[in-house]
């Protein structure tokens, strides 16, 4: 079973995503801030990370950069999820090396399709 780390400061999002992904057949790990995200990624080595950008303690971009520095976590694909829909934000995330960028509100079908595609490519 593939492991997906979900990082978001909104507990409702975490809840909904956890259930949706569980129903789709994934194991989920949850983190509610940047530091926790890095910690959990190191410990549990997920297959994919859904990373919010606006986060307490450490924002999404910095989390991503921190993961890249660690060889253990550097190869984990990251999909950014954010309410920000401006082109600059999307460009920044993709330029950093994000696999994809999904804007909130997320659509279940689209989310599952994206995750599926990325994992199959690996």
């Amino acid at each position: 079973m593939k492991k997906i780390l979900i990082v978001d400061d909104e507990k409702n999002i975490l809840l909904v995503l956890k259930i949706a992904l569980k129903k789709a057949g994934y194991e989920t790990i949850l983190a509610k801030d940047g530091l926790e995200a890095i910690e959990k990624a190191r410990e549990q080595k997920p297959d994919l990370i859904l990373l919010d950008i606006v986060l307490p303690k450490l924002n999404g971009y910095l989390v991503y950069e921190a993961l890249q520095e660690e060889p253990k976590t550097a190869k984990i694909p990251v999909v950014f999820i954010s309410a920000k829909s401006e082109k600059e934000d999307i460009d920044k995330a993709l330029d950093l090396g994000g696999e994809d960028y999904l804007t909130k509100p997320l659509e279940k079908e689209k989310l599952l399709q994206t995750i599926n595609e990325i994992l199959e490519r690996r």
């Binding site: 409702n12 999002i13 909904v16 995503l17 259930i19 909130k104 659509e107």
Partner: protein, 613 residues
């Protein structure tokens, strides 16, 4: 000299009198000269002619006496004696006349000599008479009398000669005098002419001087210099005229003063009004010279010493503002009449309002420019946009959990639900969907309004764009059984705009038409008019009541004939913003119950388009 002569009439009369007087003097002078001349001629006649005549007569008398002696020698003693005595008398008569007429030097001596010799001649004649014989007598005559006779005759001739010479001298003198007379008459005449000329000049000047003054004064007054007054001390006809003229000017002055007071009053009033207008206000003439600035304008542009009639840019060094004003003067379409100015290192936004004041031939004479400080509004607007943006973002996260949660329940992934539950969840999900759209539209609108969305201008083919845009609607049209008509559109019209935004506008208009049309058709057309491309989206829907036709482009405005709320209520507001961002305009022609026709225009493609916006 003429100062004492008051009236003009008497001045002219005096002038004539003077000239007549001069003429009289010249005439008198000539007469005197002629008289002198004739006197000197008379003198010659009287003095010398008489002497000469006396000489002639004496010669005649003495010659007769000589003949009388010869007659006596011939024996006719008595006859000879009588003749002799008679001529002796004559001789003395003429001699005494000659003596009376002694005028020349030497004449006196000659006459005395003649007198002495004649006495001798008479004594000889007495001796001659007393001689007895004729031969003695003849001898005596030949030896004594004859030579004396010749001597006397010669003396008389000498006297005559003297007088003749004197006569010649007198004639010369007379000639000289005549010459003098001519010269002096000429001189006097010239002097007289000069004097006459001088006086006539002086007189005419004297007469014309006040007239010149008057003329100058009239010119001054006609140039509205009512302060002008003529100072003239003459009391003649012109003096009278001057007095009346000054009276007239005084009246005019009073009249003008009243008018000026009124005008100044009005001017002060308008200035007070203008100065109390809170917005900076300026008035320009057709050459862009600033002819009026109110208090606030001076304050805004930091103008301390305002000089009238300076060029706008000389006084107010803001070229952006100037070009805005120029555009408005040329009545160029201004979708954006706000201007950003940096004043005292602070960024300020102003709305530029202009009002043309035209002259009789409909040309711009004055331009009234008022500036409205919209910095605060702009700030509020920005804050609003930011607020909308933030709020929209904040909506998105909860929307995700709502949407996804509802979906999970609806698809029964977390357990079975009954039909009623399903219905409720479906309704909730539908509204979540609407909320999502609303949030998207709000974000789009706030982005466009705050200028965050850039228009990517490009050349595109109008026909192609319309066809591409209408394609996705075919399914929906079929479902509603509506016709989509695309009018014949020229293949070769190109617009210069952001193609994706314009496509969005057309989609939105078609979407609206679909929403409110139940039967009939939707028609799309486009054409080029001048440098603009006009687009038309027409439907046979329920139409828009007239009172709503202007408002429907505002946010969240729906005509009250729409029973069911469809869409977000922001579509047309976004459409309007996009068209405006292209320097275009959008409006609607509609009749309730018959349908609506949305019309908008954007720039067409020109060769120099790249510079236009």
């Amino acid at each position: 000299m003429f100062k004492n002569i008051k009236s003009l009439k008497s001045k002219i009369f005096f002038g004539y009198l003077l000239i007549i007087f001069i003429l009289f003097i010249v005439t008198m002078w000539s007469i005197i000269n002629f008289t002198n001349l004739s006197d000197s001629i008379t003198n010659i006649m009287v003095e010398n002619y008489n002497s000469i005549k006396a000489c002639e007569s004496m010669i005649e008398s003495i010659e007769r006496q000589d003949s009388a002696i010869l007659i006596i020698l011939n024996g006719q003693i008595n006859k000879g004696k009588n003749t002799f005595l008679k001529n002796e008398k004559d001789f003395y008569k003429w001699l005494s006349r000659a003596e009376d007429n002694i005028t020349i030097e030497g004449e006196d001596a000659v006459i005395k000599k003649i007198d002495n010799n004649y006495l001798k001649f008479l004594n000889h004649f007495d001796t001659f008479q007393n001689l007895e014989t004729t031969s003695n007598k003849r001898k005596y005559y030949n030896s004594n009398i004859f030579s004396l006779f010749h001597e006397i005759k010669n003396k008389i001739r000498e006297l005559r000669k003297l007088n003749q010479n004197q006569m010649l001298k007198a004639q010369k003198k007379a000639n000289l005098r005549a010459d003098h007379a001519t010269v002096s008459t000429i001189i006097i005449s010239i002097v007289a002419i000069v004097i006459a000329l001088f006086f006539s000049f002086y007189l005419s000047k004297q007469i014309l001087k006040p007239i010149e003054k008057l003329k100058k004064a009239v010119t001054e007054v006609s140039n509205k210099n009512f302060q002008y007054k003529i100072t003239m001390r003459t009391s003649n006809e012109i003096g009278e005229l001057t007095k009346q003229f000054n009276n007239m000017i005084e009246r005019l002055q009073e009249y003008e003063k009243i008018n000026v007071e009124k005008l100044v009053d009005e001017k002060n009033k308008s200035e007070a009004i203008v100065n109390n207008i809170n917005n900076p206000l300026m008035v320009l003439d057709n050459d862009n010279q600033v002819i009026l600035l109110n208090h606030n304008a001076k304050k805004l542009f930091n103008i301390i010493n305002y000089e009238k009639n300076k060029h706008f840019l000389e006084l107010i060094n803001y070229e952006d503002l100037f070009s805005k004003i120029q555009k408005s003067k040329e009545k160029k379409n201004m979708s954006n009449n706000s201007v950003k100015l940096e004043i005292n290192n602070k960024e300020k936004h102003f709305k530029v309002n202009t009002n043309n004041i035209l002259n009789e031939s409909n040309e711009v004479k004055y331009l009234v420019v008022t500036l409205e400080d919209i910095t605060k509004l702009k700030k509020i607007d920005n804050m609003k946009s930011e607020f909308v943006s933030t709020v929209s973002h904040e909506f998105r996260t909860p929307l995700t959990s709502m949407n996804m949660g509802l979906e999970l329940i609806l698809k029964e992934e977390v357990g079975e639900i009954n039909d009623e539950q399903k219905e409720l969840i479906e309704a909730a999900l539908e509204d979540t969907e609407r909320l999502k759209e609303l949030v998207d539209d709000l974000l789009d609108l706030s982005k466009i309004e705050s200028g965050k969305i850039k228009m990517n201008f490009d050349k595109f083919n109008v026909k192609n764009l319309i066809e591409k845009t209408t394609n996705p609607f075919e399914k929906q049209l079929k479902e509603k059984d509506l016709d989509l008509k695309i009018d014949e559109i020229n293949d070769n019209i190109y617009a210069y705009a952001d193609p994706s935004k314009i496509s969005w506008v057309i989609s939105n208009l078609i979407g609206n038409a679909l929403r409110y049309t139940d039967s009939g058709y939707i028609k799309i057309s486009a054409e080029k008019k001048g440098y603009r491309i006009y687009f038309y989206v027409e439907d046979t829907g329920k139409g828009i009541p007239e009172e709503y036709q202007d408002k429907i482009f505002d946010k969240f405005v729906r005509a009250d004939n729409t029973e069911e709320v469809k869409g977000t209520g922001l579509g047309l507001a976004i459409v309007k913003e996009i068209v405006s961002a292209h320097n275009g305009k959008i409006w609607v022609d509609s009749k309730e119950g018959e349908g609506s026709k949305f019309i908008f225009h954007i720039p067409s493609f020109k060769k120099d388009n790249n510079k236009e916006i």
